[in-house]
């Protein structure tokens, strides 16, 4: 919503300055988004006419125009706009002028070898609208004004307010003024409303069809006959330009002015083009019409249309149609002032993807009692400027708007705001805002003004009072430092622990989108359902991720392209397995690429391998409090891992839920995604699969005992089939005697010479120590034999002699 201090002063009387105004607006909730000076050298911008255009000798798209700027000589201006044509009346900025939008100062410049004196401006360059396609087109009515200033001499700044959607009343200057007055910023001026005094009947019949979903509840109108549409008088043009609107013709300018001034949208029809009266009805599916934006619309069922016998004239409260639009030679005007239901407006405009000033206002709620005053104001102005005769006002209604009454408990104010104001002050504020107040004991009986659709209950009144009194009156109550409930749940603690544990292994934490490219996702989704976003910002971000790998791989690949080789990154976050709330799990997912000890003077460089990543995962799980003695690992992994170089980890031998996967990313994926690295190893830890012991970590810790009796280390080398796992041997050994065997370590794996094909040798060191005594040779011999026997029996191994 754009206003100026000048315009505000049509409605309020104040001695305060613009500086105070800006502060006050923000303080009462009408946030000042920007303040722009339109006045800075705006007398330089002239209304001008293109007399002649020629193709630029050196550029196909450019034209060289001779422009009449009201001086003896025409100005030569180079212009690239497609609509620059002979006879067009537009706006000229001379060298020295500063373009309002870009803040660039024009100079005489050679453009591709032709000297250009100034520039012809688009609406967007002048901050008139967002229209940047071509230069401004002014109607032929401006012919008389060639050479005159386009902008008024007003020194008032353009103030852009961000009006929240609950405040349609502040979409008119008067509404803003009213709020300001309530906050003590001056006095509200009475509107001098000129009532239409006419004896002529409005003889164009209007009928609102009573039907389900009818979006129009009241339709006011009057006829103005024998008008002469003309250029608006200077004061009106200045007013519109001062808030960044382009003047068009008196009739259009007047309806715009009334809308901006008192937030009353109106629509002017050429009465002669309406056939046999107006019918306000629901549209039929498939009905078509051409709107004032020159676009054809095909309507759905049940959109609120204004029609005549021939068909649709316009979409009520949204946009009018070409067929009945006013033109320069329009003689008889049918002026509409109606009430349209916000819900209907919103449905229709959303379906047709149409956004207009009127729509924006009606969908927020227009004052239903402004129908008449709007007609009075506009019709009188039309008569004043364009002449003609006004008919009586006709208002058709199919419903009435109930006046809202609120019984307000004055104590509620302090209860919510934490501070007190006297009831007298409350009444003053509310009356200034347009409420009628009646005191009934500790209650106020309030009649809500018709322009406030946002107010329906007591809390709304509290808001009004706090807002106008000022948020700075609220006292700070310092919070008490007291905690009765633990801050984090066990799962949340684990989340933070895993996050930092993985980072401490040398991984950089990344945060990537929860959505991803389906082309990448397909590699990692397995049997999970693809979850499409209906309206993605781009097709590369079209699905929710089924795995974090898709994004991590994409980004690691980008980093590899930047020339980094040895990278470790991870992310902890959601992956999705369904499109319903809760169908998501938390995964810690990491990738490690390249080499270890690259270009080291001291260590031999080697590729990152699966055992590096296995260490990171296992160490993390152990640090998180899980007992590695119980871990169970096998090689059954999803197909995006290398089938031979990947594993999954269970926290115990029951194998109920996979705690983690780790392994090389499948070489085919690297090939298909064209990822060039020495090695790429990944892992996934599934947060929700990590079960908690019922005991706290502290209570899980066994009693501290040590043995000072002598320990002995024995080495064994077993020859086993290649498919026997080291884990099987370790498990077999530890099953022999958990009390005496305190440590088992694989220290060599060997295949090759001296070992039969398809077999391997695994060398294991076992530490044996008794908590009770020093073991003698006989004891040791016994346990030795038992180890060999057990391993041979369970795994089919043979001890190497």
């Amino acid at each position: 919503m754009k206003i100026t201090f000048d315009w505000l002063q049509d409605h309020l009387k104040t001695n305060l300055k613009e500086k105070h105004l800006l502060e006050q607006l923000t303080n009462i909730g009408l946030e000042v988004e920007s303040v722009a000076s339109l006045s800075a050298d705006n007398e330089l911008f002239k209304i001008a006419k293109i007399i002649k255009t020629e193709k630029h000798p050196n550029a196909d798209r450019l034209k060289v125009c001779d422009v009449n700027v009201g001086e003896k000589e025409f100005k030569k201006v180079v212009c690239g706009a497609a609509n620059a044509r002979e006879g067009l009346i537009t706006i000229y900025a001379p060298p020295g002028a500063t373009i309002p939008k870009t803040k660039t100062k024009l100079v005489v410049a050679k453009i591709r070898g032709v000297t250009s004196y100034g520039m012809l401006c688009s609406e967007s360059e002048l901050n008139l609208s967002d229209e940047s396609d071509g230069i401004t087109e002014l109607s032929t009515k401006f012919e008389k004004s060639i050479g005159k200033n386009f902008f008024s001499k007003s020194k008032s700044n353009l103030i852009d307010l961000s009006i929240t959607p609950n405040r349609p009343d502040c979409l008119g200057v008067r509404g803003v003024a009213r709020d300001l007055v309530a906050s003590g910023f001056g006095k509200l001026l009475e509107l001098k409303e000129k009532k239409i005094k006419s004896t002529t009947k409005q003889n164009l019949k209007v009928k609102i069809i009573k039907e389900k979903k009818q979006g129009c509840t009241a339709f006011g109108s009057c006829l103005i006959t024998n008008v002469k549409n003309t250029e608006s008088p200077q004061w009106l043009k200045d007013k519109l330009i001062s808030v960044g609107q382009k003047p068009i013709s008196a009739i259009v300018d007047i309806t715009n002015y009334v809308m901006l001034d008192i937030n009353r949208p109106l629509h002017a029809y050429d009465a002669d083009k309406i056939e046999n009266g107006i019918i306000v009805r629901n549209s039929n599916s498939g009905e078509k019409f051409t709107a004032l934006d020159n676009k054809n619309y095909k309507l759905d069922k049940d959109m609120c249309v204004i029609s005549d016998q021939k068909g649709v004239l316009g979409l009520g409260g949204i946009i009018g149609g070409i067929r009945s639009g006013t033109e320069l030679d329009t003689k008889n005007i049918f002026l509409e002032s109606a009430y349209f239901e916000p819900r209907s407006i919103r449905n229709t405009s959303k379906k047709l993807n149409l956004d207009t000033d009127a729509k924006f206002r009606f969908e927020r709620g227009i004052d239903p009692s402004s129908i008449e005053s709007g007609l009075n104001k506009a019709a009188s102005l039309i008569k004043e400027i364009c002449g003609g005769e006004i008919s009586k006002i006709d208002i058709q209604k199919i419903g009435t708007h109930k006046t809202k009454i609120i019984k307000f408990d004055t104590d509620l104010f302090e209860k919510i705001s934490g501070f007190k104001i006297p009831t007298k002050e409350m009444i003053k504020i509310l009356e200034d805002l347009g409420f009628k107040c009646k005191k009934e004991k500790k209650y106020l009986k309030l009649t809500v003004p018709s322009w406030r659709p946002d107010i329906s209950q007591e809390i709304d009144i509290v808001e009004e009072l706090v807002r106008i009194t000022g948020f700075d009156k609220i006292k700070i109550i310092t919070p008490i430092k007291e905690r009765t409930k633990s801050t984090l749940t066990q799962t949340q603690k684990l989340f933070h622990f895993l996050q930092r544990a993985i980072a401490s292994k040398g991984y950089l934490e990344a945060i990537t989108w929860s959505f991803t490219d389906s082309n990448y996702n397909d590699y990692f989704k397995q049997t999970k359902k693809e979850i499409k976003i209906i309206n993605p910002i781009s097709s590369e971000l079209g699905v929710l991720r089924n795995s974090i790998f898709s994004n991590l791989i994409m980004y690691i690949s980008k980093n590899l392209d930047r020339g980094f080789k040895d990278l470790s990154i991870f992310e902890i976050g959601p992956v999705f397995f369904g499109s319903s709330p809760g169908e998501q799990t938390t995964v810690v997912c990491g990738l490690s690429s390249g080499k270890k000890s690259r270009l080291s003077w001291i260590d031999k460089e080697r590729n990152v391998d699966v055992f590096d990543v296995k260490r990171d995962v296992i160490q993390t799980l152990i640090e998180a409090g899980y007992n590695s003695d119980k871990f169970f690992i096998d090689d059954n992994t999803p197909n995006y891992y290398h089938p031979g170089k990947s594993g999954r980890i269970f926290l115990n031998k029951d194998k109920d839920q996979v705690a983690a996967y780790f392994g090389e990313i499948h070489p085919n994926i690297l090939k298909n995604l064209d990822i060039k690295t020495d090695a790429l190893i990944g892992f996934e830890i599934f947060l929700e699969h990590l079960k908690f012991s019922r005991k706290k970590l502290n209570d899980q810790r066994p009693k501290f005992t040590t043995s000072d009796f002598q320990k002995s280390e024995r080495d064994f080398a077993f020859v086993v089939n290649r498919d026997v796992k080291a884990q099987d041997l370790i498990n077999a050994i530890s099953s022999v005697d958990q009390k005496l065997i305190s440590n088992i370590k694989v220290f060599d794996v060997y295949e090759g010479e001296n070992i039969p094909d398809n077999q391997k040798s695994i060398a294991i060191s076992v530490t044996i120590q008794s908590p009770e005594k020093t073991l003698n040779d006989k004891d040791l011999e016994k346990i030795n034999n038992l180890i060999i026997q057990t391993v041979e029996n369970i795994t089919g191994a043979k001890i190497r002699s």
């Binding site: 916000p342 948020f471 009765t484 994004n551 980008k558 990154i569």
Partner: protein
């Protein structure tokens, strides 16, 4: 001169000479070996008559100790000399690089979430979570934003079905609804998490982070809200003084509603919080709307309180001088390294949030 004295003088003079380790060991053997000179003197003790025996034994012990000490210190001396000689050869270039290490980092958003959690933990808030995919009801309707409310336009929503029933949450506020439906008042929670809007330009990302706050109890008023946010901002920016401004605003789920600005100024291209005359919007808040309480079956005549929503990424940018929001999610190795935090830097209250 007795034998003993002779032995003593002879060997003391021998031991003063330059000897290597084997020579010293030979001397040791000569003296204290099985048939060594000193050892044989000890064997003689029994044969000496009683009147002289005591003195003899005592003299012998003195000489033994003296020679032994001398031998030990000589051995020590020689050994040290040998080590020192070896050390000379072992001199390396100590300026060569250490063995390589890699350093992991925590993302600034995660760090900021931990900081905020730590701050709120002090005043008794606990952390709640909700799903990223929400239903239309929790994200809008229950929050007093019925279908066709223009406020919905302010949220460019990602939908997962044509009927627009399932969506990516546009704010963390649905966690309020979930929390209040699940438990009974009082409520005192924060809910950090990912949020989504189909908006993407220089200052907007389709995904960003918010932290929701909710405090519902008997008699919680706007003074408590102001106090809580004042405390948060002061603690978060680790400054003694802040400038904060509450501006009336509108959110369907709170009333009265406010947007909160903090005062700042730019010094040498850096933002200084708490000084200067410029204002920066950092959060939205208000008193939970009675309609919302009704939707979650909390009696609004007995319970009331406040809620707020803060952009975490924005806070992180301000505190740590990060200019570009898009970079948060670009996963540039250099950026992560530059702005990331050491995993050991866990924000805690006693140690201070940041170093």
């Amino acid at each position: 001169m007795s034998d003993l004295k002779k032995i003593r003088e002879e060997f003391i003079s021998k031991l003063k000479g330059k000897l290597d380790l084997s020579e010293i060991n030979q001397i040791k053997l000569d003296l204290f070996g099985k048939n060594g000179l000193v050892s044989s003197q000890f064997k003689k003790i029994g044969t000496i008559n009683e009147s002289e025996r005591k003195k003899f034994a005592s003299d012998l012990n003195v000489i033994k100790d003296e020679l032994q000490n001398l031998i030990n210190s000589k051995i020590n001396e020689v050994e040290n000399a040998e080590i020192n000689k070896k050390l000379d050869k072992e001199k390396i270039d100590i300026t060569l690089p250490e063995r390589p290490f890699v350093r992991g980092k925590i993302h600034p958003v995660s760090q900021t979430i931990d900081e905020i959690s730590s701050i709120f933990s002090e005043i008794g808030f606990s952390v709640e979570e909700g799903p990223d995919v929400e239903n239309e009801y929790n994200n809008f309707t229950a929050l007093n934003t019925p279908d066709n409310h223009p406020a919905r336009d302010m949220h460019d929503t990602f939908y997962l079905d044509e009927k627009k029933q399932k969506l990516l949450r546009t704010h963390t506020s649905p966690v309020q609804i979930r929390t209040m439906l699940k438990d009974k008042p009082p409520f005192k929670i924060i809910a950090p998490g990912r949020t989504y809007r189909s908006d993407s330009d220089q200052t907007h990302a389709p995904m960003f982070h918010q932290v929701e706050g909710l405090h519902i109890d008997k008699n919680i008023n706007m003074g408590h809200l102001k106090g809580c946010l004042n405390y948060l901002i002061k603690e978060f920016f680790e400054v003694d003084k802040i400038k904060m401004r509450f501006r009336p605003s509108h959110f369907p789920f709170t009333e009265p509603s406010a947007e909160v600005d903090i005062g700042y100024e730019m010094k040498d291209g850096k933002i200084i919080i708490g000084e200067g005359n410029q204002w920066l919007e950092i959060l939205g808040c208000g008193m939970v709307h009675p309609n919302v309480l009704k939707n979650v079956k909390v009696d609004s005549t007995k319970f009331q309180g406040y809620a707020f929503g803060i952009g975490i990424d924005r806070l992180a940018m301000l505190k740590y001088g990060i200019n570009d929001l898009r970079a948060f999610f670009d996963c540039d190795y250099r950026w992560l390294n530059h702005f990331g935090f050491d995993p050991l830097d866990v924000p805690t209250n006693y140690r201070g949030l940041s170093r």
